[in-house]
């Protein structure tokens, strides 16, 4: 896989406080990369800079060989899925997904056809005529994902998309998202503070702390060879604790 995205020496300073401290990493084409860290580690700032709502103090974002750091949000070829869905409340499920397509394709029928296809993919074809306030959190997030996928961006950014969902829904949606990604091969960057989510979804995980990258690697390596105490505590120990609690309850030796 070739590198789709190259982040070089990204620095962000807010009121003399360093939020991102010289961050560099790459994202391969078709990869699922999770950015994992506690709140305040700088992951949301990083996301805002990637999507283009905020400018970094210094550094470059190279996409397909071109520096896009000064490009407007609309010209970066990225989509975004927010934690709070940001569905248009005055439009039905179908209208929500078809809205931007209509403007892009300038053809209502084609737009609705494409939207319907996407909604089928996220298992929402039965709810086309419903308004967002009639849906559950998980359903709303499915629509939001379909809306983003429909425009076929090169990269989709996820800003803690499942934090507002309950545990059951989270598990189901997680599996569906993984399937979708394997089917469509869309590059996805997934921001989360949930270790399980990061490890179950990702090709690679990037652990962040205090504006720095602590480690970036495939889940297996991070789990078995944490680079330092921070990663060991934040990631490995957390997961081991979970496993041991399951062992304790079930009596099964995992």
């Amino acid at each position: 896989m070739a590198n789709l995205l190259e982040i070089n020496n990204l620095i962000k300073v807010y009121n003399k406080k360093i939020v991102l401290n010289n961050i560099s990493f790459t994202v391969k084409d078709g990869e699922f990369l999770s950015i994992l860290g506690p709140s305040g580690c700088g992951k949301t700032t990083l996301l805002k800079i990637l999507i283009g709502i905020e400018k970094p103090t210094n550094g470059a974002i190279i996409k397909k060989g071109k520096n896009i750091v000064n490009l407007d949000v609309s010209k970066r070829g990225m989509g975004i899925v927010f934690q709070n869905y940001a569905l248009f409340p005055n439009m039905t499920v179908l209208q929500n997904v078809a809205y931007a397509l209509k403007i892009k394709l300038k053809n209502k029928n084609n737009a609705e056809k494409a939207a319907l296809e996407m909604l089928k993919m996220v298992n929402m074809e039965e709810h086309l005529k419903k308004y967002p306030h009639e849906l559950s959190g998980g359903q709303m997030q499915r629509v939001a994902i379909a809306r983003t996928l429909a425009l076929k961006p090169d990269i989709i950014l996820f800003d803690e998309p499942m934090s507002a969902l309950d545990a059951d829904n989270r598990l189901v949606l997680r599996k569906e998202l993984k399937k979708l990604q394997q089917k469509l091969h869309t590059t996805m960057i997934y921001i989360t503070h949930d270790q399980e989510e990061a490890f179950s979804l990702s090709d690679r995980v990037m652990v962040m702390n205090d504006g720095n990258i602590e480690q970036i690697d495939i889940p297996n390596v991070i789990f078995n060879h944490p680079k330092n105490d921070y990663v060991r505590n934040f990631v490995t120990n957390h997961l081991i604790e979970k496993v041991s609690s399951i062992e304790k309850c079930t009596g099964i030796d995992l």
């Binding site: 940001a86 967002p132 709303m140």
Partner: protein, 528 residues
Amino acid sequence: MKKSSTALKFLIFIFLMVSVGYPLFMMLSKIDWSNFGLLVASNTFKTSLINSLFITGISTALSVLIAYVIAYTVNRTNCKHHSFLKVLITLPMLIPSISIGLGLINLFGTNGIISCNLNFDIIGSIGIILGSILYSFPVAFLMLDDGFNYIDNNMYDNAKVLGLSKWQTFKKVTFVYLKKPIFSSIFAVFTMIFTDYGVPLAVGGKFITLPVFLYKEVIGLLDFSKGTMIGLFLLIPAIISFLFDTFTKDYASGEFEKKKYLDKKSTLKDIILKTIMYLVITFIFIILGSFVYYAFINNPVLDPSFSFKHLNYVVNNNIGKYIFNSLFIAISVSILGTCIAYLAAYITARVKGKAARIIHILTLISLAIPGIVLGLSYTISFNQTFIYNTFVILIMVNIVHFIASPYLLAYNALQKINPNYEVVAKTCKVSRFRILKDVIIPCSKQTIREMFAYFFVNAMITISAVTFLFNTRTMPLSLLINNYEGNLMLGEAAIISIIILIFNIVVKGTMYVLNKYEEKKRLNYETI
């Protein structure tokens, strides 16, 4: 995309500079300070200042007290039909303040319905106090009623668990939450009464207040410099009130689970409170009823028989033209004002940036300028321009005079709408203005209607803002009341008051019905 929002910012900024900044600057720069000492030392000034402070102080205290009692009654006793009562209580807000003075004359004037048989009248300070209370308490009521909505009622259970006494509960719970609305309403009412000249002009008689003094200097003697200096004194409480509102934090946030206040038993206290409320409402209706009586009676003292005399007179004296003028002004003000206020709020709430902060402050400054002072500044600034003596200046002065409240309505509503819509739109290559039209405006329809109604009603009833700016061709209805009342044509003045009231009820009612209809159809989308 960037360019269009910058252009919008620029346009709104220019509008505010021309309509607020420039007139204020011109007015202040034209003052002849050498006469300042003379003015302050003059007896008329001293008397009117003392008079103003006296009646404003008493009226404010009583007005806010009555408003509190009624707001408490509506929210904390078992009385039903909350929203209908609200409509009745706020009826005085739909007629000019001068009409309220007129109603008092009808009832308690030298030849009033009630007073003529009892040989007394309330012309003078008592009349002004009564009129001022009547016309200002609904405003305080609305602010306090709103305040009651933001009290976390769980706190009352906590207070009970802690065993607090009733007085302690009031101090530690109710007052903490209502502090800001109470003080805001005191300031707002004080400013309203202090700067109003409709009521004192109607029932003041020889009792002169500061705004009446200003009015007479400018209208009678054309002394603009002196008028402006008096205007400066009128600005003081408005500025204090403005600073207070800007710099105090509100404890009530609404960030809690809404819970109904359940402790509503019918006790003796409740019965007394409800009686007071219904007495106030009855009094409002007696005032409005007096208009109808005066409108269709030959002469209340000499010949109290049914007559179309006044109606015929009004109809034969070009009433159509005045109605047209008023409606034309009010509708233009509503449409343009709502657009400007909404777009300004859109900039400050959703686009943000440095320019947005300046727009925010400029818009709110208009809140601090009394109508009579604003009108004066417009006369001074624009009397050499082509817009003088046209509808344009009347529409402009109305928009500026009333923009702050609808602006704040829109600002609060737009801030609550999901901040990510614009980002999503951008990633979908949909422009900011497309999303404004397709999503944000449909989501704030209810607010837009409220803004529209606010502009309309106030443009219909104002006299202070337009009193120096109209001419015979552009004169609106509200000023006709002034004329008729001045010529002791009380029946004719009553008819005009009724006409204004009817138009305002129609507009308010239409908005109310539309909102109810949408709520029923569940088209008022919760923003997600």
